[in-house]
């Protein structure tokens, strides 16, 4: 391949690549620079270079550790439960019955509702201790009312997140189910495999890539969850339900501690890259099988 030909092939890629480099990487270089400064907008002496001091402070900050733990907890719980429900819904939808289109439309909707709207809906309309719908429902079976967002902030947020992300998982699994060839299923049944056996040994392996991808994409978005926490619990009570994005936001825009917040951002990015590299290698491995 001549170098002219090489450039001709690369040229269409360049605008997107250059745009992405400028908009995402340049600010991140600034973040690294800020993270080495002692820079608090509330103090008048300005910013001074302090090296790695901010990083050392982070690791002795128990709130940071709590927020990190919450980030992992929200992501794992939400992605796992949403995927489980998504698989169940997808299996139920993968047969013809009266009103199937309507049911699918109903099940997709939570994914389409604006997250800010659904956060407000959950915290005020559904989970409110005095007139919330959920307390009325559990009251029907004699369970006393619960102040969900203050007594169980993490459960409350996971509920809202699962509700929003289940349709996404369902759609992915559903398209996986619809892509599987009916011949294989019939062959399994002729061989006398029951429904469960067919599901475990034929359907599930075929769905693997769809499930892996749902987990990956879901995790990318859920780990960055901000709206639900900001609007449902404000990270509280105290910092009990803060995740890393919310805690960093607090440090930067309420505490004006730019240096600290930047250092936390850098740590989060490094951790994300490590986890994501492992996850993507896994996904790419299953890509290569096909290509």
């Amino acid at each position: 391949m001549s170098s002219a030909e090489g450039w001709r092939r690369r040229l269409p890629l360049l605008p997107a690549l250059i745009f992405t480099l400028i908009v995402t990487q340049v600010p991140f270089l600034f973040t690294i620079w800020y993270s080495l400064q002692n820079w608090n907008l509330l103090r008048t002496e300005g910013n001074q270079f302090v090296g790695l001091e901010n990083y050392i402070d982070i690791f002795s900050d128990s709130t940071f550790r709590g927020a990190a733990l919450n980030s992992v907890l929200f992501t794992v719980a939400c992605v796992f439960i949403a995927m489980l429900l998504g698989i169940i819904f997808a299996l139920l939808l993968d047969r013809s019955f009266a009103g199937r289109g309507v049911v699918r439309t109903l099940l997709i909707t939570p994914f389409l509702i604006m997250p800010v709207a659904s956060s407000l809906l959950w915290s005020i309309s559904i989970l409110n201790p005095s007139y919330g719908l959920l307390n009325w429902v559990i009251g029907l079976v004699g369970i006393p009312p619960v102040d969900w967002t203050s007594q169980h902030p993490i459960v409350s947020i996971v509920m809202a997140l699962v509700w929003q992300w289940t349709p996404f998982m369902m759609l992915l699994v559903l398209s996986g189910l619809q892509a599987q060839s009916k011949d294989v299923l019939e062959a399994a049944q002729v061989d006398g495999a029951g429904w469960w056996r067919t599901f475990i040994s034929v359907t599930l392996p075929q769905l693997r890539r769809y499930i892996e991808l749902g987990i990956l994409l879901g995790a990318i978005y859920v780990v960055n969850t901000f709206d639900q926490i900001y609007l449902m619990t404000a990270g509280g009570p105290g910092t009990a339900s803060a995740n890393l994005p919310f805690y960093i936001y607090q440090r930067a825009f309420l505490g004006f501690d730019i240096g600290q917040a930047a250092a936390m951002g850098v740590v989060v990015v490094i951790a994300t890259i490590i986890v994501a590299t492992l996850a993507l290698r896994l996904i790419f491995k299953s890509f290569d099988v096909k290509e």
Binding site: R8, R9, L11, P12, L13, A16, L17, T20, V23, T24, P27, F28, T31, L85, I88, F89, L91, L92, F97, R104, L106, L107, T109, P110, F111, L112, I113, M114, A117, S118, L120, L121, W122, I124, S125, I126, Y131, W136, W163, T166, L172, Q189, V190, W195, Y210, I220, V223, F226, L244, P245, I248, Y249, A252, F253, G265, V268, V269, T272, I273, F284
Partner: protein, 297 residues
């Protein structure tokens, strides 16, 4: 929530497939179809009920909206919708429309050539480039928001809707490149060879031959971009104020400014969600296809 009721369904599913099998146990055939359909409908309605509740609340008077026990039967009113529209929602919707529309067009303009280069004429290290794109999406937004805030301040583009356009474009571009690449991979190689034989150049091949073939994929990609841009809150919260604030910011302002008006807030939430919900309902086939292809191929 649907969690508790969902558990018993897979065993029920077992009955159908086994029941539908004429070879095994024809004598004890049990048709679980109606039962499964009922279970599916009940689950769907339970899962959908928060939305239904939001819509119902938006047609209530405030006194009925925050009552214990909840009110299910009432004389519906449009008062809340009138109040929301009178409170100046229009400019917020206009800002959201610009940020969403323009950023989606930009994403498509950038993503189509890029994904074309990555699929049909693979550059060296295709997977490295793909990995780079998706890794930018994993970068937590909070890690770059402070420099963006400072830079925008120095460029005097704080509270400017075009700042959101640029950021939403960079937010959606990686996913769009991934999705579009998968649609291009679906195009048979012979089609391209034929176009090349006819002496069609790059632009002509892309525009005349490929675009019609990937049109449904393009629609799905655009829809995903629209959903994420319309619903975005974090950038809008930090980078906009009165001038260029978008619909999510408007919703939050509704909640905090004049105390809590539940019915009015519900009406505002319904209006805010409506464009994306309708688009998603209309294009759900493309959405399913787009997600699966973009995801797996």
């Amino acid at each position: 929530m649907a969690t508790q009721t969902a558990a018993p369904t897979p065993p029920a599913g077992k009955e159908t497939r086994a029941g539908a099998d004429p070879v095994r146990k024809p004598a004890r055939r049990f048709n679980a179809g109606p039962l499964l359909t009922t279970v599916t409908w009940v689950l769907a309605l339970v899962f959908f009920s928060p939305v239904l509740w939001m819509v119902l609340t938006s047609f209530k008077q405030e006194s009925a909206a925050a009552s214990d026990p909840p009110v299910f039967f009432f004389a519906p009113t449009l008062d809340q919708y009138r109040a929301v529209l009178d409170s100046g929602a229009g400019s917020y919707f206009a800002n959201s429309a610009i940020a969403t529309g323009v950023s989606t067009i930009l994403v498509i303009l950038l993503a189509v050539p890029a994904s074309y280069a990555l699929s049909i004429r693979p550059v060296k290290k295709t997977s490295d480039v793909l990995f780079f794109f998706i890794s930018t999406r994993m970068l937590p937004v909070v890690a770059v928001i402070m420099p963006i805030y400072v830079i925008a301040g120095q460029l005097k583009v704080l509270d400017n809707v075009w700042t959101l356009v640029v950021l939403y474009t960079s937010m959606n571009l990686p996913i769009a490149v991934w999705m579009m690449r998968s649609f291009f991979l679906e195009v048979p190689g012979e089609v391209l060879e034929a176009a090349q034989m006819d002496g069609a150049g790059l632009m002509k091949t892309l525009w005349r031959v490929l675009m019609p073939m990937v049109a449904p994929g393009l629609a799905a990609t655009a829809l995903i971009c629209v959903i994420f841009a319309w619903n975005e809150f974090f950038f809008a919260l930090i980078l906009t104020a009165g001038q260029s604030a978008t619909v999510p910011v408007f919703l939050v302002a509704q909640m905090t400014s004049e105390g809590l008006f539940l019915a009015q807030l519900s009406a505002a939430s319904v209006l805010a969600s409506l464009p994306v919900v309708i688009a998603g309902w209309v294009a759900q086939k493309q959405l399913v296809r787009g997600l699966s292809m973009g995801a797996v191929k």
